[in-house]
């Protein structure tokens, strides 16, 4: 008998390459989305800070806007700067 593969459809789950599983602000998994979004991934992307912490972009932007004076990373309290 000869077995010929006409098409092999693999299934894979995508994952952010982050050093944590959940967003430190909304506590949702990174692969899920922030409370304001409905579509994950490109719909609700992650951003990294210079401190190497990362968050849902929407979450950290909201956080920063809510900060009166200095803009700090909610995890390590260092000044927040987007990683280039």
């Amino acid at each position: 008998m000869k077995v010929k593969i006409k098409k092999w459809t693999t299934v894979a789950t995508w994952k952010w390459l982050a050093n944590d599983d959940n967003c430190g602000i909304c506590r949702m998994p990174f692969e899920s989305c922030c409370p304001d979004c409905r579509l994950p991934g490109d719909g609700c992307p992650l951003v990294w800070g210079k401190c190497s912490h990362c968050f849902h972009m929407h979450c950290i932007v909201k956080w920063i806007q809510s900060q009166q004076a200095q803009q700090q990373c909610p995890m390590c309290r260092q000044t927040w700067n987007f990683k280039e």
Partner: protein, 778 residues
């Protein structure tokens, strides 16, 4: 003697004697009146004297007791002499003579004593405060006494007369040609030679006469009533059953009413003569009864009407109109419930068929009963039943799949139709009271929830489960299954999702939307990575579905080996993915996905199969090698033997592999040089697997039932065998069972035997250990 007690003690002996003379004379005059038929002129004078002494009440009492005596005598002799239909009228006329005279006398007394209203009467002696209508009283007495003496025999004679008279009347009224008939359909007389021998007209005449007499003397009122009722009801019943059988496509209630007026009511009017008071009251009863019998008849057919819906719409509207006239919903509900219990609520009926019936029920009952009362009772019953089946097969799943199954025209159309308008807020059960705001329209007699009244069919179906969340979750799991095994049409899935979004809201459908987005995005990746980047570099024609695991129903995770060519190719894909999507990666789920294969068998035939990744991995082993041992396969695939058996079973079912072909642990390619088993045997094995693999919903199908019967007889045998032999190997049990089964199961194979024993092991009746079967230790 009577009078002395009634007179005042002040009265002197002379006046007393005078009064006694008047009394005796009056008494004699009344007796003569009955026996001779005329009233003595001097009676008036005696009565006047008696009245003047306030003795009218006594005289009336006397007349009543005298009437009782006369009527009793008349009736006793009437019933003893009336034994055949022909005697009913002549004897009645004799009996009526005395009663008629009594009534005349009573009428005369009434007139003379001023008890009646006719002003033309010249002599009246009014007794103040006197109210008794003696004529009326005698008539009542006659009614009571005649009824009292009625015998069962007479009862049936009268019924016969009524029935006969109706037939005869019907005959005289109808314009049908009688020539050529041997017997008249009305009176049964032989009319072949001479039509004038027909006695229909005479029968009707006689009947009118009987009724006249009966009416005059007030005889047998309840008997007459019963006869009329019995005849009419029989007629109506017969007519309804004959004309309304099985035809749901036209209305017939109005025809029935017309028939009733033309036939039954006109009969009553003609035959009744003066008896109009009773008959006219009866007419309303008849109409009521007609509707009642029609509803009862249709109630028994309601389930069939539902099944026939929408063809049965005219019949439903018909029934609705009748119900509004009679308002006997309870019986209808009871009957429908009965029909549903016997015909729908049993394990043999597929859930999908119940759902279909449910949908038809909702539609049909909406027509039948706009108040929603019936629907409410039935829906309650149905949802309780459907929920009770939930453990056996997943009803929600079936509802969801029928909703999105194109072949299910009914629900599919419903979904599309409903999508045009979103359901009113609050149409789903969400714990809040549903008629708080509607208290003004609240009807106590039929408390029907607003959901029942105003919701569409899908809402009602969904509400069986109490919440739309359960429903949507189930939909998501179905969708996931379809997407993962490649049995979906993305365009259609998107369309359904849009429809369901309108119905359940965007938020509820969000997971499904992400799932379908994943499919869309994976297609883009296929173009961007597999087609444009990898192309020729791939060993296998790869495709990849990249999913957002958080949004999919939980997927079973199995570590499993798939061909290195595939994992290798996926690695290439992963690298490209990471380049394309910075900071993201993909993890392969080897057990998920599907494979399209082409098998070229040794005889040159080609077979296309779509299967799971595990099934594909297993069959790949047989590429160029026709024989494997189970244990080796388990090693090669790095999985358990149970998994191997399951995977092999798929290919045996496909007719590609055969189990046990070369040694007990062997698996061979069917028809190859390694397949030494004879073809017949292999087929037997295959069909067994087929049976096992059959859809659970069809679990009660014929072959399995046969199997069960066989197994039951085997059970006792095996228990006895194992009790005697202790631990026994399969082949020993097989050889003994084979002898035992020889007559009932000719083609009983060792596989059958093993299957049977395994089922016993599963149920705990038998223990299996290191190749030996035994009874469990007590």
């Amino acid at each position: 003697m009577l009078i002395r007690t009634g007179l005042s003690a002040k009265m002197d002996a002379a006046s007393l004697e005078k009064i006694e003379q008047h009394w005796d004379a009056a008494e004699t005059a009344f007796r003569d009146c009955v026996s001779k038929g005329y009233i003595n002129e001097s009676l008036a004078q005696h009565v006047e004297q008696l009245c003047n002494h306030g003795m009218l009440p006594l005289l009336e009492v006397w007349l009543l007791s005298f009437s009782e005596e006369i009527i009793t005598r008349a009736m006793k002799s009437y019933f003893s002499s009336t034994r055949v239909v022909e005697h009913v009228l002549p004897n009645l006329q004799v009996a009526a003579k005395d009663i008629r005279r009594l009534l005349e006398a009573a009428g005369w007394l009434r007139k003379i004593s001023g008890g009646n209203d006719e002003p033309s009467v010249d002599i009246t002696w009014s007794c103040s405060g006197h109210k008794l209508d003696i004529h009326e009283e005698v008539l009542k007495l006659s009614s009571r006494l005649t009824t009292f003496f009625v015998t069962a025999e007479f009862d049936s004679l009268m019924l016969e007369i009524f029935q006969r008279s109706f037939r005869a009347f019907h005959r005289t009224q109808s314009s049908d040609d009688c020539s050529g008939l041997v017997f008249c359909p009305g009176c049964n007389a032989e009319i072949a030679d001479d039509e004038n021998l027909c006695s229909c007209a005479a029968i009707v005449r006689e009947f009118v006469e009987i009724n006249g007499v009966i009416d005059e003397i007030g005889a047998f009122p309840s008997l007459v009533h019963d006869c009329v009722q019995s005849v009419c009801f029989d007629l109506i019943k017969k007519h309804v059953f004959e004309t309304c059988q099985g035809d749901f496509e036209s209305k017939c209630a109005s025809n029935l009413e017309q028939w009733l007026n033309e036939t039954v009511v006109s009969w009553l009017q003609t035959i009744s003569g003066q008896t109009t008071s009773m008959i006219s009251a009866f007419k309303n009863n008849l109409l009521y009864f007609l509707h009642d019998i029609f509803i009862e008849f249709r109630a028994g057919q309601l389930f069939d009407m539902i099944v026939d819906f929408p063809d049965s719409q005219p019949a439903l509207e018909d029934l609705r109109d009748c119900i509004q006239k009679v308002r006997s919903l309870d019986e209808l509900v009871t009957k429908l419930k009965q029909a549903m219990t016997t015909r729908l609520f049993h394990p043999g009926v597929k859930t999908a068929d119940i759902i279909t019936a449910y949908v038809s029920t909702i539609k049909a009952l909406r027509i039948l009963d706009p108040s929603g009362f019936i629907l409410q009772s039935i829906c309650d019953e149905l949802s309780v039943y459907l929920k009770s089946r939930d453990n056996r097969d997943n009803t929600v799943r079936i509802i969801v799949s029928s909703l999105t199954d194109e072949n299910n025209v009914e629900l599919n159309a419903e979904l599309a139709r409903c999508a045009q308008k979103a359901p009113a807020p609050g149409s789903y059960l969400d714990g809040s009271s549903d008629d708080e705001s509607d208290w003004q329209n609240w009807i106590p007699q039929a408390k029907v929830s607003r959901i029942i009244k105003s919701s569409d069919i899908i809402t009602l179906l969904v509400n069986i489960y109490g919440s739309k969340e359960v429903f949507v979750e189930e939909y998501a799991s179905l969708l996931s299954g379809r997407l993962l095994n490649g049995s979906s049409d993305t365009q259609k899935e998107i369309m359904y999702m849009e429809l369901l979004k309108v119905r359940f809201g965007e938020l509820a459908m969000n997971n499904c939307e992400v799932m379908l987005n994943d499919v869309k995005y994976s297609k883009r990746l296929h173009t961007q990575i597999i087609q444009e980047k990898l192309g020729e570099k791939l060993q296998v024609p790869l495709d990849s579905l990249i999913i957002s695991a958080q949004f999919w129903p939980e997927l079973k995770d199995e570590t499993m080996k798939i061909p290195e060519s595939v994992t290798g190719d996926f690695e290439k894909f992963r690298k490209e993915y990471e380049i394309l999507n910075g900071n993201r990666t993909v993890n392969l789920r080897p057990n998920l996905g599907y494979v399209e294969l082409e098998l070229e068998l040794d005889d040159g035939s080609v077979k296309s199969v779509k299967c799971s990744t595990a099934q594909a991995t297993l069959i790949q082993l047989f590429d160029g090698r026709n024989h494997w041992k189970m244990a080796d396969i388990a090693n090669a695939l790095e999985c358990s033997r149970i998994t191997v058996k399951r995977l092999v079973a798929f290919w045996t079912q496909q007719g590609v592999l055969a189990e046990g072909g070369a040694g007990p642990d062997g698996v061979v390619v069917m028809g190859s040089d390694a397949d030494v088993g004879d073809i017949e045997n292999a087929r037997g094995r295959r069909s067994l697997v087929d049976e096992e693999m059959e859809d659970d919903d069809d679990g009660n199908s014929r072959p399995n039932q046969l199997q069960e019967v066989r197994y039951q007889t085997f059970s006792n045998f095996v228990r006895g065998l194992l009790t005697n032999l202790g631990e026994t190997p399969l082949d020993r049990i097989y050889s003994m069972l084979k002898m035992f089964a020889a007559s009932s199961w000719v083609d009983f194979t060792i596989q059958d035997c093993k299957q049977f024993l395994d089922s016993k092991v599963k149920s705990g009746d038998v223990v299996y250990s290191s190749g030996l079967y035994s009874l469990p230790a007590k």
